[in-house]
């Protein structure tokens, strides 16, 4: 199929290192000794745990409920017992803890009752809800909940649906193997997305270093009689970036701080399409994914791995060489060294690379920037990394934003080409997280200010309302008094009334005071009545002897009380006199 392809600017060609792990077919990883399933595995709200320690769970049972619309459910990867719901170290560059459900497998791997659905009979919103409840998220690496991307925009017609099978990052081959071995289900999954979004065209982009995968996908598309186009795109890192692939396939360039949907394009990863199909047609939530295990190992291979499998146990399957000193999650360009070898595999884990200095020699020390401009030439987003570097380094974050630091996809091309070996992406990550932190603080302080001002306004209003109420009551009292006075005057002689007439202001003030006094007295009387109404509860059903005893005590107390009361009364005047 001939098709006019476009180019994106920049990009690099690192050694792909993909052939090592494609020789063997996908294998299913054995059950690990225990599974640590983090609850927060997707962008958006953290799912709420719905199991407790000691609960028996079945494979595919819900353990974390989606919190909000942009959030996806989490499920038990196998049957077993929940050991604890506790904080564990995450596969995250911070090495910090987050809430995880720890499951001890019982070895039976017993599924819950699965409900296959015919999605053609469902409403679109039911399909989206099913995907959310099945925990389907973008498996390309961003783990954005898929159902959130499946609502067609009302304003822009959907032109193209781009399916990302480019897999441009070195070492990673999980999507390649998925397309080779499970192409039919991938294509059926794309069919679901197509039916929900109703695009005019569906384009499947696969880098031309994966001819077997492209052939398998073409065969599957033909077999299912779908009008999808399988397109081979030139191998150039990062052709698998969503915006880059959209550019190559459609010629559309997504502008800064806009989304591809604004241009009528939506993009999904092939593995996401596969899991969506499993979730709808087989009723299987996302409990496993394909992971490439490669790098410094004897037998690089792709495994179908349960979410929550500890990485060190997984790495043993490929028998790492003895000089392995760490695990990289993701590829060598965008991945990071995990903080602990025992961290679990999550939905975002597409590849584990056994790290050794032999494979990834330590970088020579950083040298000053010579402003050669190589980074700007390599940047696939047409940014100016050296400018952003200067300003990030100087902590001048406003300027970095002027240079569109948030359009940086952290692909690592600039660091890769830098002759001075400056870790540019690290500077950009630092600047981005500082800006986010400041924005969070700003938002919080703006909210606090608004609430503080509202509270002040409310207190003022309450005070004014109270004063108004009192004034009204006083006026009513004064009117009443005046009426009474008038009545009295009518009864009494006219002369007295005439004498009283000039004094009305004074009378009004008096009346106000009287009214206040009266209300206070009434309140005190009420309080007294209440006190008296409250009676001790333990004096019901007394025996005669007890009653007698009480009476005696009461008598004594009264005598004592009287004498006590008399004494201060006598002493008080004396003390006054001395003063």
């Amino acid at each position: 199929m001939l098709m006019n392809l476009f180019k994106f600017k920049g990009g690099v060609k690192p050694p792909t290192n993909k052939t090592q792990s494609v020789t063997l077919p996908i294998a299913v990883a054995p059950l690990p000794s225990r599974l640590v399933v983090p609850l927060h595995q997707s962008i958006g709200g953290t799912p709420r745990p719905v199991v407790q320690a000691g609960d028996k769970v079945l494979k595919g049972q819900l353990i974390g409920e989606a919190d909000g619309w942009i959030s996806a459910a989490v499920h038990a990867p196998t049957s077993g017992t929940v050991l604890e719901v506790a904080m564990h170290v995450q596969p995250h560059p911070s090495g910090l803890d987050a809430l995880c459900v720890v499951i001890e497998p019982d070895g039976k791997d017993e599924w819950i009752a699965r409900e296959p659905l015919d999605y053609a009979s469902l409403k679109p919103e039911e399909v989206r809800e099913r995907l959310q409840q099945s925990g389907v998220v973008g498996l390309g690496g961003a783990v954005f909940p898929t159902h959130g991307k499946l609502t067609p925009a009302k304003t822009v017609p959907m032109d193209e649906l781009v399916i990302n099978g480019a897999e441009c990052e070195p070492f990673i081959t999980c999507d390649d193997l998925l397309m080779r071995e499970r192409a039919e289900e991938v294509v059926r999954g794309i069919g679901i997305f197509r039916d929900l979004l109703q695009p005019k065209k569906v384009l499947i982009g696969i880098e031309d270093n994966k001819p077997e995968a492209a052939a398998a996908m073409r065969a599957a598309v033909d077999a299912l009689k779908e009008p999808f186009l399988v397109v081979s795109v030139p191998t150039l890192y990062p052709a698998g970036g969503a915006k880059q692939l959209i550019r190559v396939l459609t010629g559309k360039e997504v502008p800064a701080s806009k989304r591809s949907t604004d241009l009528g394009v939506q993009c999904f990863n092939v593995a996401t399409a596969y899991t969506a199909w499993r979730a709808i047609a087989h009723g299987e939530p996302v409990v496993s994914r394909l992971v490439t295990i490669t790098g410094n190992v004897h037998e690089p291979r792709n495994y179908e791995v349960l979410i929550g499998t500890p990485m060190d146990e997984l790495l043993k399957l490929a028998t790492p060489h003895p000089d392995t000193d760490g695990i990289i999650m993701g590829g060598p360009m965008m991945g990071f060294l995990v903080p602990q070898a025992s961290v679990p595999v999550v939905k975002a884990t597409n590849c584990l690379i056994a790290h050794a200095d032999r494979l990834f020699p330590p970088k020579a020390p950083e040298m000053p920037c010579i402003r050669c401009g190589s980074c700007a030439e390599a940047c696939p987003h047409e940014l100016q990394p050296f400018e952003m570097y200067w300003f990030s380094r100087a902590k001048n974050f406003g300027k970095t934003q002027e240079y569109h630091i948030f359009d940086c996809i952290e692909c690592g091309c600039c660091s890769f080409v830098c002759p001075s070996r400056i870790p540019l992406v690290q500077y950009f990550r630092f600047a981005k997280s500082e800006i986010w932190a400041r924005e969070r603080e700003k938002k919080a302080s703006d909210g606090a200010k608004a609430r503080f001002e509202f509270k002040q306004m409310r207190e003022e209003r309450e005070k004014a309302e109270k004063a108004e109420k009192l004034a009204k009551a006083a006026a009513a009292q004064a009117a009443k008094k005046a009426a009474e006075a008038a009545a009295a005057a009518a009864e009494g002689n006219a002369a007295e009334a005439e004498a009283a007439a000039p004094e009305t202001p004074a009378v009004a003030v008096d009346a106000q005071k009287d009214a206040k006094k009266a209300t206070i007295e009434a309140a005190m009387a009420r309080a007294k009545a209440q006190r008296e109404a409250v009676q001790p509860k333990n004096i019901e059903a007394l025996k005669a002897a007890q009653q007698q005893e009480i009476d005696q005590i009461e008598a004594r107390r009264q005598a004592a009380h009287l004498s006590e009361a008399a004494e201060p009364a006598a002493a008080a005047p004396a003390s006054e006199k001395t003063e």
Binding site: R440, R451, K455
Partner: protein, 187 residues
């Protein structure tokens, strides 16, 4: 005659421009002091009163008038002092108090007697509850000002430091490693 004409032209110009300026000063009058707003934007809005002013705005006004120093805001920290100094062209001073980590108030709900005193004390309406009902703090709204601690008659409110978690974790500033050069043997 020419001199008179020149004077007349200048006078006319002065009248016209003066009128324009006078009109502009009425038409484009700036309400409030823009400097106060800028200062207030830097202050953290905890409304804690640790600066001895009843809120962030009065403190901002005092700074703008030159009555208050810029180092009286502990929640703003050294960074806040730095930013105020940059804005006002004043010298950076060390903070007048100890800088505390950001924390949030927590009510021990078993001990709370529902007296509503803390609700009245909270400047940002971050406490919910009613008379004789349990109170609780809406943690995301709490500014950590500690104003609710003294009024509590049963001392059931404590401050808890907000630690680092995955959501607020920040990438570190890249450190340039400086390795010691290998020692050369004395020749």
């Amino acid at each position: 005659m020419e001199i008179l004409l020149a004077i007349a032209i200048m006078a006319l110009g002065a009248v016209v421009l003066g009128a324009a300026l006078g009109f502009a000063s009425i038409k484009f009058k700036v309400e409030g002091d823009p400097l106060v707003e800028k200062i207030e934007a830097i202050l953290p809005q905890t409304q804690c009163g640790q600066c001895s002013y009843p809120g962030c705005k009065p403190y901002a006004e005092a700074i703008a008038k030159g009555e208050a120093d810029i180092n009286k805001c502990p929640p703003g920290g050294a960074e806040g002092v730095q930013r105020l100094a940059d804005l006002l062209g004043r010298e950076v001073k060390p903070l007048d108090a100890e800088e505390k980590p950001k924390s949030v108030a927590i009510i021990d709900e078993n001990t709370c007697i529902g007296c509503t005193l803390c609700i009245q004390a909270c400047p940002v309406d971050a406490i919910v509850g009613a008379a004789k009902q349990m109170h609780t703090i809406i943690a995301p709204l709490c500014t950590g000002c500690e104003l609710c601690l003294p009024p509590c008659p049963v001392e059931c409110i404590r401050m808890e430091v907000i630690g680092e978690n995955i959501d607020n974790w920040k990438w570190r500033y890249p450190v340039v490693e400086i390795k010691a050069a290998p020692l050369k043997e004395a020749a």
